[in-house]
Symmetry: C2
Subunit: 456 residues, 2 copies
């Protein structure tokens, strides 16, 4: 039976790609269909991502819309945009008919505004159309923007037997039954059931007697990141979405949350590395430049700031040229400490485990930075003293280092906490932003302290 | 009915914490039990994480083991370790009896080796004990280390009616039924079914006639990150785990994968920020120092390297002091570009979408860096020229900047690709490692090019 089972080890080889390209070039539709029907739609999407646009569209027009709608959802976003541009409104509507409401609304939302209405008008299933229109009205960063209308819902007045009978009808349209939601006659969410509960129950029992009243839910306007946090915390696989009257509107499943978490993590990681916008390594040089240049420009301004500071201290330190040679060290340490502190706070805020007051946080970071700074300063003092033989300079440099590290740690701790309190995403405080500001401040502090210690 | 439903908006207030502490202090067990029975175990864990150890243990000993076993799993790892230290082997065994095999094995694996056997011996349920022992034998980073033994399994020879009857028994022990796995009489995985399929089927049908032969599975020795990638890619909510003979051994569910993805993202983020080990903002100053100091020390060595380079060029550039004032700028730009390039590659590798040869990657990065470098260099040239009036120095500095940015970009691209090919986690190439090496190399290159251009 081995051959009949899908191995998860799909690997996109050059040979496979050439085979597909060959069939497309020779218009060998039959061979192409036979080849591709073996693959999961996510694998076909991976293949299409490697083809050129004409080839990809050829394949999409060849396969039936049941498969291609799923493939479309898995395509790289840029490629999907290009493919959709080359399909007619009618063709897109056909794809949309096959998709669950949440995916359907996502596809339509990606279209240019003038095409959206055109595609919606072409959807033949009136219920599907109405539900998609409802979903399009929600902000994409809210529970409403993430939820699907497909769910299994039962009324408290039904019996188990009647329920099972009717669920058969509803369940056919729902890819996966997680929970069955119980509503009263006003459509308000009052509880839940699992298929398991239903199978275990006696067929003449009433739903009202067996349903579980404790049910987690989210408001339709809740932020998706908060939804993700809650679902991960309570290990939920699906959560119902309600309005302010607790009317059941839709449900969010864990696979959508996995995508949200991945996107969130990617975004924070890129932000920390000084990259804005959701780019990946396959994007064009122009897209990547747009994402990277602004942060590099910030770094350039920081470097010019450092230049101006150093020039300002030039005369005072004309006899102490050696001090200038330590500015890269001071700047690097200020930057590194700032990034470390801010990363820990940003991550703590994301995982919701930053407890205690801002002051206690700052005190802790001060002690930590002082400890780290002291250890590093002793090492630096010994190096400069032994290498250079001048104890006063060694002392000035290493004392400044401690001060710079403490200040850098405090800034790295304070800025994200401050941004978070103001409702701004603290992740922007990591990376180039904190590095650049700490660089300049560190260098300024360094020369200022050295000047005091050396009595210039 | 509003009050009967759990709101997801649990918030740990000071008032609530004081109430719990008060009940503990006055040994008011009844009030404490009444208060806590309202809360989800994940919320109780959040409360216990804020109590001191004696208080936490008091609460754990008070509640029944069905609740406390779930609470234990949700506690902060450090706190769990401390709590477990204060429980007897018998008490731990009682908690373990209540847990699914995967969680049970995780708890036992966290214990010191000498206590592990002691706890296992105290487990009364012999099947549970045997299954836990089996799971403990797998590496924690493999599918075997993540899977649970609890699953719903049916034989191809059963009928739908017989199947439903027997599933009722199995399903009671399984928290959530995702897929029902179909095996032949040798216990080999041959297909799957959903509860929905079973409910929709006629009761006299044979499983052999209705099961779906296409089933994804993973080998018990597969790496967890690969399992996570596959489950996310194919939107799977559970995946069966098999050995080399395809014997069904267990299953992995999506909630475990959510945890793996979160941990992975947290680890990469910390690595990029120069933090090793899985620390969080609530860890002790000593733990945080251990995680942060090594990278700071690397930065210090880099700074000393920069000092030695600058000192080496001191004489050659005695008339060009202004050049020294641009070293922080050069170092910062080299670091920033290196972090950007490496982050894009590391993220691409993690998402498995770095396609094409290493050479084509390097060529693309070179063009990208050249474009960004040129734009920044023109700005810098104009600034230095207008500010300083000396065109030759302006030219030397800005030409070096372009070269430094290109080299930094190439290193940032090459190093993670190289590490990945060698089987080393490329994430260590981001952050302080790339910053420090690019800092030094950038400064060296800068003085060398400036020297050539100025003809010294």
């Amino acid at each position: 039976m081995e051959d009949e089972n899908e191995s998860i080890q799909f690997e996109l080889t050059d040979a496979l790609l050439q085979q597909v390209e060959g069939y497309v070039a020779s218009n060998d539709d039959k061979a192409l269909q036979n080849l591709l029907k073996e693959f999961h739609y996510a694998d076909i999407a991976e293949i299409l991502d490697e083809l050129n646009l004409e080839q990809a569209i050829y394949v999409i027009k060849l396969l039936d819309s049941e498969t291609t709608s799923d493939i479309l959802m898995e395509l790289d976003e840029d490629n999907r945009e290009k493919v959709l541009k080359n399909l007619t409104a009618k063709e897109i509507a056909e794809e949309v008919e096959e998709l669950d409401t949440d995916d359907a609304a996502d596809i339509i939302a990606e279209l240019p505004e003038e095409r959206q209405q055109e595609v919606i008008n072409r959807i033949e299933d009136e219920d599907h159309k109405a539900e998609i229109k409802e979903l399009l009205a929600y902000d994409e960063d809210t529970a409403g923007g993430l939820m699907a209308k497909e769910l299994v819902k039962v009324y408290e007045t039904w019996t188990v037997a009647g329920c099972l009978r009717r669920i058969r009808g509803q369940a056919k349209e729902v890819t996966r039954v997680h929970s069955i939601y119980v509503v009263n006659k006003e459509e308000k969410l009052i509880g839940r059931l699992s298929l398991k509960d239903l199978i275990v129950a006696k067929s003449e029992q009433k739903i009202a007697d067996i349903y579980i009243t404790s049910v987690d839910y989210v408001d339709v306007n809740e932020d998706v990141e908060e939804v993700a946090r809650v679902m991960a915390k309570y290990d939920l696989e699906a959560i119902p979405v309600v309005d302010e009257n607790k009317t059941l509107l839709g449900r969010i499943t864990i696979d959508d949350i996995v995508d949200v978490l991945k996107e969130e993590a990617d975004k924070d990681y890129q932000m920390a590395a000084g990259i804005t916008g959701d780019v990946d390594s396959d994007d064009s040089i122009l897209q990547l430049t747009r994402a990277r240049l602004p942060w590099l420009f910030l770094g350039l301004l920081g470097g010019i700031g450092a230049f101006i500071i150093m020039e300002g201290f030039q005369e005072a330190f004309s006899k102490y040229a050696v001090l200038f040679f330590f500015t890269p060290l001071i700047a690097a340490m200020a930057g590194n400490v700032g990034v470390q502190s801010s990363a820990i706070i940003v991550q703590g805020l994301a995982n919701d485990d930053v407890k205690g007051s801002v002051n206690s946080r700052l005190l802790k970071e001060m002690l930590l930075a002082a400890l780290n700074g002291l250890i590093l300063a002793i090492f630096l003092f010994l190096f400069v003293w032994l290498y250079n033989g001048e104890m006063d300079k060694a002392l000035a440099i290493s004392t400044s280092l401690v001060a710079v590290i403490i200040i850098a740690g405090l800034i790295g701790t304070f800025v994200p906490l401050f941004l978070d309190k103001r409702g701004i995403d603290p992740a922007i405080a990591t990376g180039p932003f904190i590095t650049t500001s700490n660089d300049i401040l560190g260098i300024l502090l360094y020369f200022w302290i050295a000047k005091m210690i050396l009595g210039i």
